[in-house]
């Protein structure tokens, strides 16, 4: 084999070996961003989606179930009071709701739900709200028989 070809193939083969290593390390690297073995999947899925979700802020409050289903409230920075009281922002006609049932208020970019000592409790998805809890977009908040969601 000519000397030049020998030298070129020699270097080429070593380069190929290292290319394999680099591709393998790239896979390792991409794996680092995946959740470490626990794989908790963000609602809405994936890294890209969650980044996009963070930039979106809630603009509307939508009643999805209950007597007031279909009601929309456009959000501004003021807190939303939910209950049977006449001065509530969202005045419920729901036998299972208390007079002053819950408050949904904004802190920074996020909205938090807070139970105001209601009788039957406030539920974020299926978990009872005992302390102010962040409400992600599209996650149902249940108050009595009424279910509300934040929408962008």
């Amino acid at each position: 084999m000519p000397e030049l070809v020998l030298q070129l193939t020699r270097a080429g083969f070593l380069a190929l070996l290292w290319l394999f290593v680099l591709v393998a390390l790239r896979v390792v690297r991409s794996d680092l961003y995946a959740a470490s073995g626990l794989r908790a999947i963000m609602p809405g899925g994936g890294r890209v989606a969650s980044r996009a979700g963070r930039s979106r802020t809630a603009r509307q409050l939508l009643v999805t179930q209950g007597p007031l289903a279909g009601t929309r409230i456009t959000l501004d920075s003021r807190p939303i009071l939910v209950g049977r009281a006449d001065d509530s922002t969202l005045k419920l006609d729901d036998d299972y709701a208390s007079t002053r049932h819950a408050r949904i208020s904004q802190q920074g970019e996020d909205w938090y739900v807070e139970d105001l000592g209601s009788t039957n409790g406030t539920y974020l998805d299926r978990a009872k709200v005992t302390a102010p809890t962040r409400v992600p977009l599209g996650v149902p908040v249940r108050i009595g028989k009424t279910v509300i969601e934040l929408r962008s």
């Binding site: 290593v21 393998a24 036998d95």
Partner: protein
């Protein structure tokens, strides 16, 4: 390679959440990397043939085809039996095994040249034997993946594994030397032409046993103890497993005259103890045991002294005992940074160039750059094993994956350290690279177990989130019971559907 980790996901394996993507299985990236490994190995083969000015013979084509068939079958088996297994383990193994085959073939060619020059009969081709062993290894690989559906079942056979492992380990020492002795080490069971080293399989079985044993008993070893110099010392009676490990390795050393395996067993068991109990004192005590054992062995055994003297100065007895390691060092020096090019060196000058000293053969022809890349491939294999150990959820799996990965790592260190004169030389084989049937077959079984554990670690949880059978508005509201007699006696003011 734009989408690492992407892969065909099995339908029905989604996480239940609407909109959540199916988990990537990594099978596509594994296939791509396998193809890449096959390309590299084919390139290496062509380079060897070109530099040795050989023509591509049909027999060689069969070897190449057999290698490709082995890769394909292994990949299909992983797809079938462990669809979420780590995508990097199998390609690393495939590349190492392929490079080993090419280098063994290259040494075959050199042996045939020399025999032709000297007018001797042509020696048998080792690469054919090795590809046969690869096929056997593949069969065991598939069998392990197929039969062991869940690595946790192995824990139930812990004591059986330990017993069988001990028997396998002791067997060559008890058999007559005519069957068991090769080159002064009684490691073999040779029946007819074929020989196996049962110690290689005993290694895996003993790792299974120790993992199972430690999961059961680790509380014993990590609770009681006195504090001394800022660390917890274990109680004397809890030292038993360490003593057993020590006795085992010393027994191997005495009866079978095998320095490498003895070092390997002791190291593995020490690391498993440390991983199970998280106590540094075990490591220090173990290292103390090791030093004592090494000193006693040096005093008592002639072959240990020879190894140490050769290690300290291989050129003192160059023509005789130091010849092998001195030639290996010359080979590595000839290779230098870039190597001579595949097929263009003289790695065959080192005795046992295809088994114990394949590292120096590769070093001569690929140079430091090539050796470093192979080391990184080993590193990837080991880190993926350890990562599986971190990610898997049961402690038996954690310990087992730790033990298996560390066994590979320690073996690589012992062999490469010996060949490059960092530590005294011990007769072990490099996993997947060296010529040697038992080592290859056993390591394929080891990799199958690692893949099984990584599959368990990466697969989505089988427990699905509770299906929203009831619409959320009708879900059980926490009702407060209205007291039967009247609101005044009730502990809670709110009646059902309360209006406070």
């Amino acid at each position: 390679m734009a989408a690492p980790g992407s892969g065909a996901a099995r339908p029905g394996a989604t996480n239940g959440r609407e909109g959540a993507p199916a988990l990537p299985t990594g099978r596509t990236i594994e296939l791509l990397l396998l193809v890449f490994a096959a390309v590299i190995v084919t390139g290496a083969l062509v380079l060897v043939e070109a530099n040795q000015e050989q023509e591509l013979t049909p027999t060689l084509l069969y070897v190449g085809l057999a290698y490709l068939v082995v890769l394909t079958l292994a990949h299909l088996a992983v797809r079938r039996f462990a669809p979420y297994a780590d995508p990097l383990i199998l390609p690393s193994v495939a590349l190492l095994n392929g490079l080993g085959l090419v280098m063994i073939h290259r040494l075959d060619l050199a042996d045939q040249d020399r025999a032709a020059l000297l007018g001797q009969p042509l020696p048998g081709s080792l690469v054919f034997k090795q590809i046969l062993w690869t096929a056997v290894g593949l069969a065991l690989f598939i069998a392990v993946l197929w039969r062991v559906k869940d690595h946790r079942t192995l824990a139930r056979y812990g004591f059986t594994c330990g017993f069988v492992g001990l028997v396998l380990l002791a067997l060559p020492g008890l058999l007559p030397s005519s069957i068991s002795e090769v080159n002064g080490a009684k490691l073999w069971i040779r029946i007819g032409g074929a020989g196996i080293q049962p110690g290689e399989f005993a290694k895996i079985l003993l790792i299974v046993f120790f993992a199972a044993f430690l999961v059961q008993k680790r509380d014993l070893f990590s609770t009681a103890g006195r504090r001394f110099l800022g660390m917890e010392l274990p109680r004397a009676r809890d030292l038993a497993p360490l003593l057993v490990a020590w006795g085992l390795s010393v027994g191997v050393l005495v009866v079978e005259r095998d320095l490498g395996s003895s070092l390997l067993f002791f190291g593995i068991l020490l690391v498993l103890l440390y991983a199970a109990t998280e106590r540094v004192s075990w490591m220090l005590i173990g290292l103390g045991f090791f030093v004592v054992g090494a000193l006693i062995a040096y005093q008592l055994f002639g072959h240990v002294q020879v190894r140490v003297q050769v290690w300290l100065d291989p050129f003192a007895d160059y023509a005789n005992r130091g010849y092998q390691i001195a030639q290996a060092l010359f080979g590595l020096g000839t290779g230098g940074v870039g190597g001579t090019g595949l097929g263009a060196g003289r790695p065959d000058l080192v005795p046992f160039a295809e088994s114990d000293f394949i590292w120096s053969s590769l070093g001569e022809e690929l140079g430091l750059i090539g050796l470093a890349s192979i080391l990184v491939v080993y590193l990837v294999l080991i880190t993926r094993g350890l990562r599986s150990a971190l990610a898997v959820r049961d402690s038996f799996g954690k310990l087992l994956a730790t033990g298996l990965s560390f066994a590979v790592a320690l073996q690589i260190f012992v062999v490469i350290g010996g060949v490059t004169k960092l530590i005294p030389l011990t007769g072990l084989t490099l996993p997947f690279l060296s010529y040697g049937g038992s080592s290859l077959v056993a390591n394929y079984a080891l990799v199958a177990m690692l893949l099984r554990i990584s599959n368990a670690a990466r697969a989505p949880l089988t427990r699905r989130p509770a299906a929203p059978a009831v619409p959320i508005a009708d879900a059980g509201t926490e009702l407060v019971q209205r007291p039967a007699v009247g609101p005044t006696t009730g502990p809670l003011p709110g009646p059902t559907g309360g209006r406070p």
